[in-house]
Symmetry: C2
Subunit: 199 residues, 2 copies
Amino acid sequence: MSTKEIELFFDVGSPYSYLAATRIEALGARVGRPVRWRPFLLGGVFKATGNTMPAAVAAKARYMMADLARWAASYDVPLRFPSRFPLNTLRTQRALVAAGRSSGPEAIGPFALALFHAYWADDRDVSSDEVIADVAAACGLDGAAILAEAGDPACKEELKRITDEAIERGAFGAPSIFDGDDLYFGNDRLGLLEERLRA
Amino acid sequence: MSTKEIELFFDVGSPYSYLAATRIEALGARVGRPVRWRPFLLGGVFKATGNTMPAAVAAKARYMMADLARWAASYDVPLRFPSRFPLNTLRTQRALVAAGRSSGPEAIGPFALALFHAYWADDRDVSSDEVIADVAAACGLDGAAILAEAGDPACKEELKRITDEAIERGAFGAPSIFDGDDLYFGNDRLGLLEERLRA
């Protein structure tokens, strides 16, 4: 790992991961830092840390809908709350790892953004093989090859390893953004991160 | 309630309430809105909503220390994590309500800021009558009268009523900031709030 990278640990099923994902490349460009996209499994993070999703408290869940709409308006990105939520993103996150394994790490970011858009703007079931292959194809990737790779034990193991690494480094939710050892949790910390990187 | 007010529901025991409190008057001045300071009891909000303090998850608690230090640096305000935490702020919050009852609502903001500073910068026990009276005096208020008023059943009832009102309107934590019916939760939503109020 180069210390100059910004690492974004994300899960396609997380709305605040989506929001951060739409901004992270522009932020990296402004401060002259490359972004390393790191798909992990948020469910595994919650299980290991005893954390819960914000939607677990009823009043928080209601507020989250307004909050997400405000961020989307502020960022000028589409956001329609998915009809399937929460989604089991195990297959999705494995497919993202698979894309990195078969096409190189630079394939992960564009594929992730396309999956985020499919789920958070177009309400598609990004846990299904059909949608994963379709979105992969739209990104110029080989959907069938990615799905085959996603089922490989080595790929499954890599997703688990990335998730464990994030937990080990202090993550308890998504998105978790690292500047070296320093964790910034949440889309709402991008401002503080940029302030730090400019300092 | 005038619809032009920004209402800040806060608890002196909450670090993100402290951070928001240091910025809210300047924000209000920038957008031409008066601020209404509304002391409530965060413990009561947690109990009613089933929410928990962020520090309840170990990894979150560790992160919170770094996060608070970053915000304090960004805002250029002092912040030393108190040796007594969490603090039972029932007496403190009642004293704030009492100040409003005996000296008028405009007394609450300056008194709150002084109590926040005593706890979050000077590590003083702001749940003790001695410190409450001392801080009140430094704000030009009558400490003995405020403590007497804080013990009055009507004052206790008013704190309970403010807390219930916040819960009724959707609050689940602190600070809870309202622009009319619209809740903004957390110091980290001041940016979105200001964006909205300028629009």
